[in-house]
């Protein structure tokens, strides 16, 4: 495996983890602010522990016992589904056909929901609701990261590097989040998601082909070419779809757009 594909692997895992961890952190901060930090942090830590165990339990046997070509076709398919889906959403968001993901709205919605059930919460003590919300948020967002880590890591026999990249992203997001807790909406999520979508799609195609016996000119360097191709396709598709937009209903921050905030 060449250095270039390892670098791309690192960037893909790091980017995907950053996006998902920002979403998870928003929920943890909302839970901490309204129900107390102790339960929120315990919930987040418990979810991270479970996710780490899943990586070890699923990832290591995959590398040891599943034939490499079978593994590449299966994980390539998973990456392709995920990558195409992220890329499609990014194109629709960038072209104004879909609302931009809004961390502020998620934060406001989560705190409002949690505050509504505030009566049972003990500030500073343990709170089951706060724990559950933080656990669920980190676990659900983290599951996607685990799939990417296991898929990319296992197909290249680089599970350790992939897990380390995801861990680094989690630590950086948590550190930044601790400083700018309520400004998570400043993260250019759609841009990161576009880049990661392009990488996952390129990796997915490459591994599906590689596992099936397709000959890629330049071997691993074909990943870089695929990334370039999908960058061009994304730019053209976004520009084209922008021309199909009906302007007034899609203005940024309009009521219509706010209705459709999604992950």
């Amino acid at each position: 495996m060449s250095t270039s594909s390892t670098v791309v692997l690192l960037l893909a895992v790091f980017g995907a983890s950053t996006v998902e961890m920002v979403e998870a952190l928003t929920i943890v901060v909302a839970s901490g602010v309204t129900r107390g930090w102790r339960s929120a942090l315990e919930g987040a830590a418990a979810a991270l522990t479970v996710l780490t165990i899943v990586v070890l339990v699923v990832g290591v046997p995959l590398i040891r016992w599943v034939p490499i070509n079978t593994l590449r076709v299966v994980v390539g398919s998973l990456l392709l589904v995920l990558g195409l889906s992220w890329l499609r959403k990014s194109i629709l968001r960038a072209s104004g056909h879909k609302a931009l993901h809004d961390e502020d709205v998620i934060f406001a919605t989560t705190t409002a929901e949690l505050a509504a059930g505030q009566s049972g919460a003990k500030k500073g003590g343990r709170d089951a609701v706060g724990f559950a919300v933080a656990f669920k948020g980190v676990f659900l967002e983290g599951t996607e990261v685990v799939l990417i880590v296991v898929s990319l890591g296992a197909s290249q026999h680089r599970l350790g590097i992939a897990a380390a990249a995801a861990g680094a992203a989690a630590i950086i997001v948590a550190a930044v989040g601790a400083i700018v807790a309520k400004q998570l909406s400043q993260v250019p999520e759609n841009l990161i998601k576009t880049v990661v979508g392009i990488m996952l799609t390129s990796f997915g195609l490459f591994w599906v082909g590689e596992g099936s016996g397709v000959h890629w000119p330049g071997s691993d360097l074909a990943i870089i070419v695929l990334i370039g191709v999908f960058v061009v396709v994304t730019v053209i598709a976004t520009s084209w779809l922008r021309t199909l937009r009906v302007p007034a209903a899609m203005s940024v921050g309009s009521g219509v757009e706010r209705e459709q905030v999604e992950g």
Binding site: L82, L84, G209, V214, A249
Partner: protein
């Protein structure tokens, strides 16, 4: 037993949502791409061109399908194929 059923259902729903979700065409696209890759395999040199071409066609068609189709200017959108996720 109930708990196992509930977990099994949640597990199934997670994978359904992950693989199919609101873009079944991309799931079908992946199956088609994998099938073509396995068919071409070692026998055709064109595999490296066919796979990206198929992915691009399916991606653009899916994005076009997901575009917002609004009514008169300022009106609420009448149709968007995506459900909020």
């Amino acid at each position: 037993m109930k708990l196992i059923k509930r977990w099994g259902r949640a597990f199934g729903l997670f994978w359904w949502d992950f693989l199919v979700g609101d873009t079944p065409e991309l799931f079908v696209a992946t199956l088609v791409i994998v099938a073509v890759a396995l068919l071409l395999g070692h026998h055709h040199e064109s595999g490296y061109l066919m796979l990206p071409a198929l992915a691009i066609v399916f991606l653009v068609l899916s994005a076009y399908r997901g575009r917002r189709r609004t009514g008169p200017v300022g009106a609420k959108p009448t149709k968007q194929t995506d459900a909020p996720s």
